[in-house]
Symmetry: C2
Subunit: 349 residues, 2 copies
């Protein structure tokens, strides 16, 4: 049997309370006593049973996730993952809630953050819009001692405690690298369809993409970015115009959530010869991948992100360190052949 607090108490010749004080290094223990206890801990090779500890301190951690509203499928997927995690929140002693705000709206976002601060939650996760109002609101959370992590899209030089999401420059590079290889020697420029250059993840993806394309053996023109505001109709129009204007278009990099519009435009123009690389595995991108319209999808696992955000916020709330390496979010590459299970099945890993 593994040693317990009782064993420590016995071999150190002190009471349970004292052992507990040392373990959680709370004040009120003499140096000598502390030393005895620490010796016993080391000698017995004690490891704390976290589950039991959580059970005992029946504290709960109310955490709030602030996400953009609207029909962006990735964001709705994120929301679904938060709710799914909420089911397990039981044993994790957390209470999760979701607040949605208009997309790309810095003011509304700042207000939502202030709302969470007012409710005195124990942690905030927010899909950031990179704007000063947001930064100052994040500063207020910090001042109030409430841990805050940015999710998916980061905020430059703010007081956020941690960023949960992929390395978007690397994501862009990956897209560029695949695009270059898939196109090979085929001539023609590539188009880039984004949501908005106001969010940091989109800017970074573009940067990485251009860098990787520039390193390819075959030089290739990259057309000016089309900003579709992650709106299907708008993205479709922009893309259709582009297809009409650039008959020799060879590829499209869709780095935001405009995929539904993109696929529609490609169907309208009957252009299944174009190499398309998109982000986020959703019902739309999955279908397009299976149909051969999209060639590769880069994905960040929403489930992993949500669980990571929860772990980090809890750790911060408890004043525990975050193991950075453990919280890195991977960039998945999907092609038709390695598509995972179904859209609403979860791998829980």
């Amino acid at each position: 049997m593994r040693p317990t607090v009782h064993d420590i108490a016995d071999t150190a010749g002190v009471s349970l309370a004292t052992v507990d004080r040392v373990l959680n290094d709370r004040p009120g223990v003499r140096g000598v006593t502390r030393a005895k206890v620490e010796a016993a801990i080391a000698a017995l090779g004690y490891v704390r049973d976290v589950a039991a500890a959580n059970l005992a301190k029946s504290r709960v951690y109310p955490l709030v996730f602030i996400l953009p509203e609207g029909d962006n499928p990735f964001m709705r997927g994120l929301e679904a993952e938060v709710r799914r995690a909420g089911l397990h929140s039981a044993s994790e002693r957390t209470r999760l809630s979701v607040v949605t705000v208009p997309a790309f709206d810095a003011g509304a976002l700042a207000q939502a953050i202030d709302g969470a601060i007012a409710e005195n939650v124990s942690g905030i996760a927010v899909v950031a819009v990179d704007a000063p109002e947001v930064s100052t609101a994040v500063g207020r959370a910090h001042a109030a001692g409430i841990p805050l992590v940015t999710l998916v899209s980061d905020l430059a030089g703010s007081g956020r405690d941690h960023f949960v999401g992929v390395d978007n420059i690397a994501a862009g590079r990956t897209a560029g690298s695949l695009m270059g290889r898939f196109l090979g020697g085929r001539p023609g420029p590539v188009a880039v369809l984004a949501g908005s250059m106001r969010v940091r993840d989109h800017r970074e993806r573009l940067e990485g993409f251009c860098a990787a394309m520039a390193e390819m053996p075959v030089a290739r023109a990259i057309l000016p970015v089309l900003e579709g505001q992650d709106d299907p109709a708008r993205s479709r129009v922009l893309m259709s115009e582009c297809l009409a204007a650039v008959p020799d278009l060879a590829g499209v990099y869709s780095l935001g959530a405009g995929n539904q519009g993109l696929v529609a435009a490609l169907a309208d123009g009957e252009r299944d010869d174009i190499c398309v690389i998109a982000h986020e595995l959703t019902a739309h991108t999955r279908a397009a991948l299976e149909a051969g319209t999209i060639d590769a999808v880069l994905n960040q696992d929403a489930g992993h992100e949500v669980r990571s955000a929860i772990r980090v916020l809890r750790a911060k709330a408890d004043g525990l360190p975050v193991i950075a390496a453990q919280e890195r979010i991977r960039l998945d590459i999907f092609i038709k052949d390695n598509l995972p299970a179904g859209p609403d099945e979860d791998d829980g890993n």
Copy 2:
């Protein structure tokens, strides 16, 4: 506060013990009583606190992992992941151990399985060699009521309770698909380097690869399989001979663990123009990917696999159902640009 067993007992007008009997559907409860309790459970929306339950039943589950010995880096990585999981085994109430047996040795493997049965462990995870001796040993485990899962490589028509690993046919298809796209119109045959056709995962990968290559727009010859026994020296020799014999070789699919030898042979022959797709992200493949020798690596996350095996074995030992969708292991595609953190850093997801 969430409802507890006490609340159920109160509203159902029974004792804790009875509630517990119903919850874990143990015998010894009258139909009427059971109904009352179930009504209360439903009414209160009770969800069991698994952590507390585990704490109370201080039962531990000894699980044994049987892995091939030798310097196969993927297998050593698997072993490392088992040990890492062992650290957390605390709160999971499991005790993990590892047994290694000579690679591709069905007799030794069968013997190890019998050994575990004799020790009366609560679960066995085994990297299978696809042979009759192994199947019968698996049958004995089944007869003894010991849950057994195959890990990484499956066993045809055996009594294994579950397979933890990737869909290897899909993995082969993915490799073929990428190889076809990367090579584009470039002429020349491709070689296949395997470990042994005696393990099922290698056979399945080959099958998927050939199928995908056959569907490519450009027809391409696939050379006879080279079986390197996952041994660096042997793989190197085979590969070198192949390079010498086939000067216009366009690509290599390494579907086993012979990557060290493969990379050495390519270096010997100064052939960095060949498109190489390999399996499993290890120190060697990572370095070769960064150097540009290998173009893509398909990976199964050893950490995920180990944790999945543990979850499944525990569930089986407890007679609980396994949520298949949750246990599916993804096939990761890595290129130079989306390589994850470091080789010994874990993402724990």
